[in-house]
Amino acid sequence: MTGRNRWLTAYAIAGYIFLFLPIAVLILFSFNDSKRNFQWKGWTFDWYPMVFANEALIDALFVTLRVAAVAVAVSTVLGTLLGLALARRRFRGRTGTETLLLVPMVTPEIVMGLSLLVFFYQLFDSRGSFNQLALAHITFCVSYVAIVVRARAAGMDGSLEEAARDLGASAFGAFRYVTFPLILPAVISGALLAFALSFDDYVVSTFNAGVGSSTLPLYIYGKVKFGITPEINAISTIIVATTGVVILLAWRIGARRDARARATATDR
C-alpha cells in the first residue's frame, strides 16, 4: 500500500466512526445510572422496564405500528403496480407518470405535510385524525416502492412472461406464477423501505396526526424538546437495535440469494 492509500483508508475509517459514534453514545447512555443523564455515573438496566411501563409511550408505539401497517399495505400495492408498468409497459402518459412519481420525492416533507393538512381542513374540516395520518403516509411511500420495484422489474427477462402466455397461461396466471415470484424480493425491499419511512416520520405526522393518534416520533419529539432523559435513550436503543438487526438480516438473505442465482447461472 502506498502512503496515499493509507491516508485514504484512515479518512474512510474516520468517516465510519463519524457515522456510528453518535449512535454508540446514544446506546451507552441508555444504561447510564443517572436521572439527569449528563455525565456517566455507572451501569443500570432500570430504564428499559420503565419504557414498557410507560402507557403513553406504548400507546404511541401502537399508533405508529397501525399507521405503518396501513401505509405499507396500500403503498406496496400501488407502488408495485406502478413500478411494473414503468419497467415493462409502453403506455401513453409514461413521462408524466414518471414525473408524478419523482416530484413527491423531491418535495420538502414540510410542504407535503402542510398541503395535506390544508386539503383535509378545507374539504372535511379535519385538523388531523388516524385516517388522515395513514393516508398521508401512504402518499409519501408510494414513490419509493415504485422506484425499487421498477429497478428490479426492468432487469427481469421479459421473455419468461411471454413464454408463460404462449403456453396458455392467462395474463393473471403469468403474473401470479412467473412475474410476481421474480419481483418479490423487490416488493419486500420496497415494503421494508415504506415501513422505515412511515415508522420514522415526524414532519408529515406533526401536521396530520389528530388527538389520540400521536405517533412514537411525535411522542419522542415532545420529550426531547424539554430535555434529555435516559428513558428516551432506552426506547431509541430498542428502535435502533431492531432496525439494525432487520437491515443486516435482509442484506444477508439478499446476498445469499444473489450468490445462489450466480451459482445457477454458471451451472447452465
Binding site: 457515522l19 449512535i23 400501488l78 414503468l86 416533507e109 390544508v118 402518499t139 421479459g158 414532519v203 401536521f207
Partner: protein, 296 residues
C-alpha cells in the same frame, strides 16, 4: 438503460395489454393526483387568500400579497439562513463523502456490499433519534465538552449546541449517506483503465484525478448535491432541536405559522416558495442526468 426499453407487446394482445396497463397505472396515478397534486394546488389557492379576524381562511379577493410579504427584507435573513445551512451541508457532505465513496469502490474488495450497508444503516435508523444523539454529545455538559476538557484543550465548557456549527454538523451527519450512495455508483462505474492511461501519458496523480476522475464522476457529484440540498433546505427537525429558539429557517417559520400562529395563507405562500426553490433547483441540475439518479 433497460428501464426505458420495455418489452414490445405482440399486436394480437394489444387490447388486453392496454387494459392491463391501465390496471397497473391508474390506481397509483389517481392516488398521487388526488392526495399530492390536488393538495399542492390547494395550498397555492390558499396562499393567494387572506384571513379574517377569527383566523379563518378567506378566498375572496385573491392576490399575491403573501408572496410580496415573503419578499420583504425582514424575511430575507430567514431565507438566507436556510440557503446557508443547505449549502454548507451540501459542500461538507461532498468533501466527506467523496473520499469515502472512492475508498469503498477502489479498496472495498469483497466487502463492498457490507461497507455500503454500513453507510446506509444510519439512514434506516430514525432521523429524529440520530439528531437526539447529537444533543447528548454537544450540550454544555455533554460528551464532547467532557472529552475536550479531559484532553486539556479547553478548561471551560464550550457552547456547542444551539449554534450554526451544531445545525450544520447535524444536517451533514443526517444527509451524508444520501451523498455517499450516488457518488459510489458513479465512481464504481468509472473504468479504472482510463486513469491508468492518463498516468501512462505522464499525468500526475493529481492531474489524472482532476482531468479524468472528477469530470467522469460529475453525474454522481450532481446527484449527491441534489440529494443533500433538498432535504437540508426543507429540514425542520435539525434547526429546531440543534439550533434552539434563536435559529430561524423557512421550515421553522412555516411550522410555527401552521401549528402555533394561525396565518395559514402566509404559511402556504412560504411553503410554495420553498417547493419552487427545490423543484426549480432539481430540474435545472437534473435535466441532463435524470437517468443517473433514477438508476442509483
Amino acid at each position: 438503460m433497460s428501464a426505458d426499453s420495455p418489452v414490445a407487446p405482440p399486436t394480437i394482445r394489444s387490447r388486453a395489454e392496454a387494459l392491463t396497463s391501465a390496471i397497473l397505472v391508474v390506481p397509483g396515478v389517481a392516488w398521487l393526483i388526488l392526495f399530492f397534486v390536488v393538495p399542492l394546488g390547494m395550498i397555492f389557492l390558499v396562499s393567494l387568500g387572506s384571513r379574517d379576524e377569527l383566523d379563518r381562511i378567506v378566498l375572496t379577493n385573491l392576490s399575491f400579497d403573501n408572496y410580496l410579504r415573503a419578499l420583504d427584507p425582514a424575511f430575507l435573513p430567514t431565507f438566507l439562513n436556510s440557503l446557508r445551512y443547505a449549502a454548507a451541508t451540501t459542500i461538507l457532505s461532498l468533501l466527506i463523502g467523496y473520499p469515502i465513496a472512492y475508498w469503498i469502490s477502489r479498496y472495498g474488495g469483497r466487502h463492498k456490499a457490507l461497507l455500503l450497508v454500513l453507510v446506509m444503516l444510519p439512514f434506516w435508523t430514525s432521523y429524529l433519534i440520530r439528531t437526539y444523539a447529537w444533543m447528548i454529545i454537544l450540550r454544555d455538559n455533554g460528551v464532547a465538552n467532557w472529552a475536550l476538557q479531559a484532553v486539556g484543550l479547553t478548561s471551560e465548557p464550550l457552547i456547542l449546541l444551539n449554534t450554526d456549527f451544531s445545525v450544520i454538523l447535524g444536517m451533514t451527519y443526517g444527509f451524508l449517506p444520501f451523498a455517499i450512495l450516488p457518488l459510489y455508483v458513479s465512481i464504481d462505474r468509472l473504468d479504472s483503465s482510463l486513469i491508468a492511461a492518463a498516468r501512462d501519458l505522464y499525468a500526475s496523480g493529481r492531474g489524472a484525478f482532476l482531468h479524468v476522475t472528477l469530470p467522469l464522476t460529475m453525474p454522481g457529484i450532481v446527484a449527491a448535491m441534489i440529494l443533500t440540498f433538498i432535504p437540508a433546505i426543507g429540514d425542520f427537525v435539525t434547526p429546531d432541536l440543534l439550533g434552539g429558539a434563536q435559529t430561524t429557517t423557512i421550515a421553522k417559520v412555516i411550522q410555527e405559522l401552521f401549528l402555533e400562529g394561525r396565518d395559514w395563507p402566509f404559511g402556504a405562500a412560504l411553503g410554495f416558495i420553498l417547493m419552487l426553490i427545490t423543484l426549480g433547483g432539481t430540474l435545472i441540475a437534473l435535466r441532463p442526468l435524470r437517468r443517473e439518479v433514477v438508476g442509483a
